[in-house]
């Protein structure tokens, strides 16, 4: 526009000045990004190709560590457990978050603003404190759940046995993150133009119909975002089992989740190379699952448009 009237030489030095400025703004971030993210990532991949020998340092073993991991029942059980966690906990958590968001967005809840805050507040509690707190709530020493069951004459349920611990952890994670997901969905709902609802209402659509046909499709990308974040989060489960180990060591063990397994391998067994392979493989699983989910929702969208 204004630059068009300037001599060409002036314009190109202008251009170069802008490129330099852009890279100057970008450079600090990129430096830290490389040092703290890219280098460790490649270092992890590098480490995973070696094995520590009893005598004489480390030896290059190619993909042996990966082969070992893929036939290691403790790793596979951990991944399976996280997959079960994903299939059960994530739909429950996101389904409830969506229901809460729709209910609050409909404006038919009295005191909705305070309800929204109440549901969101667990997100402010550090995961460590959340787990310690629920550990006490579940516990038989002075946990209110046990107190309640004993008061009505039933035996206290053992919520920290090897059969129940996965469900107990699901409850902890759900409690902590429903509000976060709800706020993402709620904010997206608030951005849908009001006129759409009015048109639907004139056509005689009820609240449920509006929610199903306008609101939920309208916040598709927000829902997808919560799904992806939840997938990444559940596979990385660490602090909950690590902390509950102290009060229920037998139910958790040392390989409850792949992350806990990698931690124990690295810092208890000193098998850093194998731990790096596990961590790398876990990251790979997460990327594949996130990618498949994204792909399948995209296809569904195209199918729906037809």
């Amino acid at each position: 526009m204004t630059t068009a009237s300037l001599p060409r030489r002036r314009r190109s030095t202008d251009q170069r000045r802008k490129h330099v400025a852009a890279y100057a703004f970008l450079l600090p971030f990129l430096l830290v990004f490389f040092a703290m993210l890219v280098v460790p990532l490649f270092y992890s991949g590098y480490l995973s190709l070696f094995r520590a020998q009893l005598v004489g340092g480390t030896a290059f073993v190619g993909l042996d560590n990966y082969a070992r991991a893929l036939s290691d029942p403790r790793f596979l059980e951990g991944v399976g457990r996280m997959a079960l966690f994903l299939v059960v906990q994530v739909p429950v958590m996101l389904g409830l978050a969506l229901l809460f968001a729709l209910a609050l967005d409909s404006g038919r809840v009295r005191g909705g603003k305070f309800a929204r805050l109440a549901i969101f507040i667990p997100y402010a509690v550090p995961g460590v404190v959340t787990t310690l707190m629920w550990g006490y709530l579940y516990g038989r020493n002075f946990g209110p759940i046990s107190q309640f069951f004993e008061a009505i004459g039933l035996g206290a349920p053992n919520l920290l046995s090897s059969d129940t611990i996965l469900g107990s952890i699901m409850n902890i994670v759900t409690w902590q993150y429903i509000g976060y997901n709800m706020v993402i969905m709620y904010s997206a709902l608030r951005a849908i133009p009001q006129e759409l609802y009015e048109a639907a209402r004139i056509d005689g659509a009820g609240q449920v119909r509006i929610a199903w046909s306008i609101k939920i499709p309208g916040i598709r990308s927000a829902i997808l975002l919560t799904i992806i974040f939840s997938i990444i989060g559940s596979f990385q489960l660490f602090s909950e089992p690590k902390l509950l180990y102290e009060i229920a060591p037998n139910a958790i063990g040392t390989s409850f989740s792949p992350n806990l397994y990698a931690y124990n391998l690295a810092f208890t067994n000193q098998d850093l190379n194998y731990a790096a392979a596990i961590a790398f493989l876990l990251g790979f699983v997460i990327m594949i699952v996130s990618y498949v989910v994204q792909l399948s929702t995209n296809r569904r969208e195209r199918g729906g448009a037809r």
Binding site: Y43, P126, F142, F238, K242, A279
Partner: protein, 306 residues
């Protein structure tokens, strides 16, 4: 460009008055929905109520009284005194460490993300698309997969067991860059930058004196996200630090809990752990309630603009 800016302003001005919490004309609150939502909200609040009440009891009180009501003696101040005096008052030190780590990481991550996001939003430069794709892809990388290699790199550099081991890895926030790009695209009109250039302002002066000001709310949002992430981080400090004097609250509390569990039911430390948990969440809960509009704007920008 001005037309777009104008539309944004109009939209921003009308949005709050568009509807009263989504209430359509002639519709009223639904009692069934209200009761249901408030029952659910109770599930989110009650554990925290239990924690608050439990922090007023000593160990005997915990075992002999009902969880959701006070014991005969009000021991909160005794518990606080014990908490801050055990092991020469190390708990206070943990609190200060947490504040130090979170503030440094939060401010650093916000500045790096702001500059990078601004470059992506407001400049065309060679490699822009590639770099942005790399940053977006990095959001998917599970951070815990990086923790072990990062630990090894820091160990080689002799940086484990220092504050840098916590702060440096927390400075990278790819999601922050993404958010700041969206914020910058929305809130800084190109015409304004162009006008400043014509007036002879340099690129850095424009950034520091004009753009940073317009980006204020966005910077606060990214700062809060990074701050809370560091405040809640457990895995990284757990593996990086071995000196209890450097622990943040999360690792310190976990260690206190492990010690109290190892001591068995007879140990006098349950009340200390519970009071410590209570004390460590109070600042965050207050900050959340006070700054909630930033949360909402951050989460909605992230999801709507996906």
């Amino acid at each position: 460009m001005t037309a777009v800016a104008e539309r944004k302003v109009v939209r921003g001005a009308t949005r709050p008055s568009r509807r009263r919490e989504g209430m359509a004309p002639g519709e009223r609150g639904s009692t069934v929905l209200t009761v249901l939502i408030w029952l659910c909200a109770a599930y989110f609040v009650l554990p925290l109520v239990w924690l608050a009440i439990a922090s007023t009891k000593d160990n005997t009180g915990l075992f002999t009284s009902f969880g959701f009501w006070f014991a005969g003696d009000f021991k909160l101040f005794d518990n606080l005194a014990t908490l801050f005096s055990t092991r020469n008052g190390v708990f206070g030190l943990w609190g200060l460490n947490t504040i130090l780590y979170s503030v440094c990481s939060g401010v650093g991550a916000a500045l790096l993300s702001t500059a990078a996001g601004y470059a992506f939003a407001k400049y065309d430069f060679p490699g822009k698309r590639l770099w942005f794709a790399v940053v977006l892809g990095a959001i998917m990388i599970p951070t815990t997969a990086l923790a072990i290699p990062t630990y090894l790199l820091f160990a080689n550099a002799g940086l484990t067991n220092t504050v840098w081991a916590i702060i440096l890895p927390s400075l990278v926030s790819p999601f922050g860059v993404y958010l700041m790009r969206v914020f910058a695209e929305e809130s800084i009109p190109d015409s304004l930058i162009e006008a400043a250039r014509i007036d002879g302002a340099g690129e850095f002066r424009i950034f520091a004196q004009i753009s940073m000001r317009l980006l204020g709310p966005g910077i606060v949002t990214v700062l809060l996200f990074a701050l809370v992430e560091t405040w809640n981080n457990y895995f990284l400090p757990l593996i990086m630090l071995s000196d209890p004097g450097l622990f943040p609250l999360t690792v310190g509390l976990a260690q206190l809990q492990a010690a109290s569990e190892a001591g068995g039911g007879a140990s006098a430390q349950f009340s200390t752990v519970i009071t410590g948990s209570m004390v460590s969440i109070v600042p965050l809960v207050i900050a959340f309630l006070y700054l909630q509009r930033y949360w909402q704007s951050g989460l909605s920008t992230g999801s709507v603009k996906e």
